[in-house]
Symmetry: C2
Subunit: 392 residues, 2 copies
Amino acid sequence: MPDLPGPNVSKSSTPAKDITRRGFITKVGQGLVIANVAGALLKNASAQQPILKVPDPPGKKVGWAVVGLGNLAINQILPAFAQCDHSRVVALVSGHPDKANKLALRYGVNPKNIYNYENYDTIKDNPEVDVIYIVLPNSMHAEYTIRGAQAGKHVLTEKPMANTPADCQAMIDAARKANRKLMVAYRCRYEPFNQEMIRMARQQELGPVKLIVADIGFDIPPNMWRLNKAMAGGGCLMDIGIYALQAARYISGEEPTEVNAMSYTTPGDPRFKEVEESINFQLKFPSGILANCSSSYACAWRSHFRALAKNGYFELDPASPYTGQQMRINRGDRLESPYIQPRDHFASEMEHMSQCVMEDKTPLTPGEEGLRDLTIMMAIYEAARTNKTVKL
Amino acid sequence: MPDLPGPNVSKSSTPAKDITRRGFITKVGQGLVIANVAGALLKNASAQQPILKVPDPPGKKVGWAVVGLGNLAINQILPAFAQCDHSRVVALVSGHPDKANKLALRYGVNPKNIYNYENYDTIKDNPEVDVIYIVLPNSMHAEYTIRGAQAGKHVLTEKPMANTPADCQAMIDAARKANRKLMVAYRCRYEPFNQEMIRMARQQELGPVKLIVADIGFDIPPNMWRLNKAMAGGGCLMDIGIYALQAARYISGEEPTEVNAMSYTTPGDPRFKEVEESINFQLKFPSGILANCSSSYACAWRSHFRALAKNGYFELDPASPYTGQQMRINRGDRLESPYIQPRDHFASEMEHMSQCVMEDKTPLTPGEEGLRDLTIMMAIYEAARTNKTVKL
């Protein structure tokens, strides 16, 4: 930080306004803060602070429509656009006009760009919209992705991609036919701690990985749409077990060839009339890596990915929340907890999609990636149901 | 601590020797140490130090014979007798007289009480020996336990109890017929951190346990007897997977009803010509608790037991080494790492056995407990071999 003129209020004959600006020194980098003027004057002074980078006004950015204004959209996705250089929200799609209007005001969305589920297809006539982000319940991903692609838009859809592999395939086909990009919002793939896990595994920093342990769960409140089989497609596996499955796949860098599974649902628990409470699954990968994974809707929140390699292990605990990841590395003779600069996961994945659109590249997590997970999850359900290993 | 006379060296006419003794005060309990005499005098003074508890000389203690003088016996078991109030080593059984003589000298064992494998049965004529501790390779546990019981001695045998359930049953039958006690050396059951895990699970301190994750492994050096199937009975499951199985059983407090398993052995690795390299297994318990366990002979050392309950989780990491256990408790809103006073595991389990002998009680981990594990381990092997869930 460049040095600013020193405080000289009492000695100089500088006019009051000048004093105000020059008489304020902040040396945050050196841990030194001197304020010799009243707090009320700081507002003026801050205009000259060289450490503040004012973001560029919206120029040529990729325009996004957010479809479905639930908790995730309101609390994570819409605020994340403030962290984006290449992505801006330009349209909202919702069945609740009041909610949409309020959010449009907050995020600077032109009211003419508010759609509902009836006029959703007319988004094709809106050149401001480049990408549609589907944040609806799982069962609606396929329909709104396909209609989005047919409207000529690129689509980012939340996970799981759909409730069946057939739906996933239809989504892939629709995007291909429309020559539009399709990406699945596998947030952790764009998150720096998980990326560091992948790097360490690929570079065999602690030797080859032999075992992956991935556990995720929370105690689900009643009456969520996630407990409705038609909407959610299944229980904890579809919603959160998919993170453990993803972790096993992206840490190993391989596709599983065999699956075992064991499931349990408490009889009489009113939450689990339609979907499973807990499901544990085992995977075998071609190189011999084994994975032990678990997911549950009936225990305290936890999210833990551990990769056990020949010379040590490395882990994230917690692994998949929106913020707060922590990494530990056991090198055999010492335990390390590296500092990794966090990033907004949603901003990162949206920026990736925008860059793929601008540069005509395939996303890191295209529709095919979502289809792979659905295929494996169906095998996990089959293994649990039949009490047999399912080969993939 | 009783008050001692105050320092009065300069004022009194007490003879020098008396001064030496009385002029030294230690109030460790109150954090106060006053030494008004030269350091050279402390040696005499210490004879009166009330804080030093000099252990009783060997009186009526249970007499132990240690059979098999390998690494575990030399480095863990023999030194542990120094921590015992009720157990003392009085005999050694070994095929190597030089080693036995050396250890007898070190641990005060009468040379006449050194046996070899040929004259082992004559131990029946030695009234000093009450308990025999079998620290031989797995395949020898059954024979030496049975011969020990037939010699009229109580037996503590290392884990796994034997290589087959049939051998376990024969050991139980022999002990019963001889009216002698039989215990399996499940060290962790006598270890305070594991005991705290059990207490927290039983008292449902964080609500009912829903999932148990237990991982254990190390990178085995070549040429160990543990890699010889005839001696070891199997690979990592028999040697260390048994700890994960035990943990799942003693944390849940239940017996599994179903088992899945998946195994992997690197083709061409010369260590694994006869036994498995890695095996992962899943258990289902009657209350609905699921367990995901893993064991491996091909990755870095690790030992981790985690119990996931409704309102939080608690874990040991590491869980099963001879020393150095650490516990973490996640209560949902805070992470705690309680201090628990460590104890010598081997001394604890030997003391338990001695007390059972003195008070004519059944050990916490009798032969039946070892048989249960063997039966389940055979089911785990069957599940891995057949690719099917095995019901127990």
